[in-house]
């Protein structure tokens, strides 16, 4: 369904992705893991045109999308939603207005109808009492749930999660895990999740791709990754400070 072929990406001459190949099937929960700065977020931003490849190809449902103009990505962003690392709710809008925005812009709904729909969706994620609050008046967990609600307003086929549990307490983190798993199991939503959270990774992933030095070092089911004989993979999943892994900055 989604495929990256030989993707290269560099920033200011520094290569981040080098000949990256990755595939994600429909309805799958794929985790992309790796050390900080290895290019996990960069990888998923390419899928919705927020970043453009220097070389390589990106395919979505048999259609090559990496060279499409910005305008053509509007239709793709209706189908592929993204939850950013920070909640990224807009400061100048209430929670309901934030969630209503994609309905108004992508869904072409009128403001009143979009707001009513947004309130209903926020009710579903337990934020009914906070719909008229501004993001600054909400906790981190509420903001994150609001951002997830906003990403799901258009009933996307694919959701990209960029570190969805970072900064959340363990209870809220597991709730987010459960939500991601339910989206895949009940609605057939494909989820690509960038994460460092090993508890999440091994609890809900169908497959895991381990990024290292710009490419996919290992890819497989949680059991396959756990049983990998690659010392670099083992160092990462065991969280050992010393080992063969070369981490920039340390």
């Amino acid at each position: 369904m989604i495929e990256l072929r030989g993707v290269h990406k560099a920033f200011a001459g520094r290569p981040v992705l080098v000949d990256l190949d990755l595939r994600c099937d429909r309805g799958e929960v794929l985790f992309i893991i790796g050390t900080s700065g290895v290019g996990k977020s960069v990888t998923i931003k390419h899928l919705v045109g927020l970043l453009r490849v220097d070389a390589g190809e990106i395919w979505l449902d048999g259609r090559r999308i990496d060279a499409l103009p910005e305008r053509a990505f509007h239709a793709i962003r209706r189908r592929v939603a993204m939850v950013f690392q920070g909640a990224t709710l807009f400061d100048s809008m209430t929670l309901a207005e934030n969630v209503a925005l994609p309905l108004r812009k992508h869904g072409r709904m009128r403001a009143a109808a979009a707001l009513a729909d947004a309130r209903r969706r926020l009710d579903e994620v337990g934020l009914a009492d906070f719909v008229d609050r501004y993001p600054a008046e909400l906790s981190d967990g509420m903001r994150k749930r609001g951002a997830i609600a906003r990403a799901l307003t258009l009933d996307p086929e694919v959701v990209l999660f960029d570190e969805p549990t970072t900064g959340l307490d363990p209870i809220n983190a597991r709730r987010v895990d459960r939500l991601i798993r339910e989206l895949a199991d009940r609605r057939g939503v494909t989820a690509i999740v960038v994460s460092h959270d090993l508890a999440s990774i091994f609890a809900i992933a169908d497959r895991i791709a381990f990024l290292y030095q710009g490419g996919v070092r290992a890819c497989g089911t949680p059991a396959e990754i756990r049983g990998s004989d690659d010392p670099v993979v083992q160092q990462f999943i065991q969280g050992r400070a010393s080992g063969p892994m070369e981490t920039p900055g340390f």
Binding site: A12, G13, K45, V48, L50, F73, H74, R77, R78, A81, M82, F84, Q85, G86, T88, L89, F90, D91, L101, P102, K105, H106, A147, R150, A151
Partner: protein, 268 residues
């Protein structure tokens, strides 16, 4: 290898420069097209435009009044000092000051003040949204960032820069008149003389004010949208916006003045 590194660095900077110029062009075209569509269909976000007009206009009133007032006083004081040294030309100061104020000093100095206050504010706000991925979230929500963030500021800035220019000119003229009266005993009837101000001067001055008002949010919005990294990147974007907006004011001043001279010639 050693020789190639500086060449690579120069090449990369040149490419970055070209990339930035193209991006500025895209922001400018996107903003102007968005504003024209707003004009054609009626502005879609009246509340946001009103909020920006308040921020750019009302919140700058004191700043512009104090700055233009003091500049008016200093200019008149210095001019009177000079004109009384050889022959007494105080009678001409008010009329010439009004002409200079309308043609150049009023619009340009008001815009320079707005370039610092408004330009920095726009760049900081949009830059913060950029580094916290709110701009990416806007794009994911089906919103064009230039259309959503820069166009309302552009419309508000064009209107309010013209209004503030007129206000600033009035304050400078009044302050200059008071200085002339109390320091050099120039009769107010003599000072407040508009005989040297021609319609062409008013046209040119107001055209400059509108052009400055258009340029400041475009340059500042462009700088904000290119912010990178974290708070340091927002700071750099803000500084670049102030410098860029001020340069834009100077370049526009020169360009419109030159066009004015070509059209009206020595009669200007």
């Amino acid at each position: 290898m050693i020789a190639r590194r500086p060449l690579t660095a120069i090449g990369r900077r040149a490419l970055d420069g070209v990339d930035a110029a193209l991006e500025l062009g895209r922001v400018a075209v996107g903003t102007i097209v968005g504003a024209l569509i707003s004009y054609w269909r009626g502005p879609r976000r009246r509340g946001e435009i009103a909020r920006q007009m308040y921020f750019i206009g009302n919140r700058s009133l004191l700043f512009v009044a104090v700055t233009l007032g003091f500049i008016g006083m200093v200019m008149v004081y210095q001019t009177c000092l000079l004109t009384t040294q050889v022959v007494d030309g105080r009678g001409q100061v008010g009329a010439q000051f009004a002409r200079l104020l309308v043609l150049d000093v009023g619009p340009s100095l008001t815009a320079m003040m707005l370039a610092t206050r408004v330009g920095a504010g726009i760049a900081a706000e949009i830059g913060s949204m950029k580094v916290t991925e709110q701009i990416d979230a806007l794009r994911m929500s089906g919103v064009t960032p230039v259309d959503y963030l820069v166009v309302p500021r552009f419309l508000a800035s064009v209107i309010m820069t013209v209004v503030l220019t007129m206000f600033g000119m009035a304050v400078a003229w009044g302050a200059g008149g008071l200085t002339g009266y109390y320091s050099f005993q120039i009769n107010p009837r003599t000072f407040f003389d508009l005989s040297m101000v021609a319609p062409a001067h008013v046209w040119l001055g107001m055209t400059k004010a509108a052009a400055y008002g258009a340029a400041i949010p475009i340059v500042a919005g462009f700088c904000g949208l290119r912010a990178k990294g974290s708070s340091e990147g927002v700071g750099a974007a803000t500084t670049a916006a102030v410098i860029g907006s001020s340069f834009a004011v100077l370049i526009i001043d020169f360009t419109i003045s030159a066009i004015g001279l070509i059209i009206w010639g020595a009669g200007l």
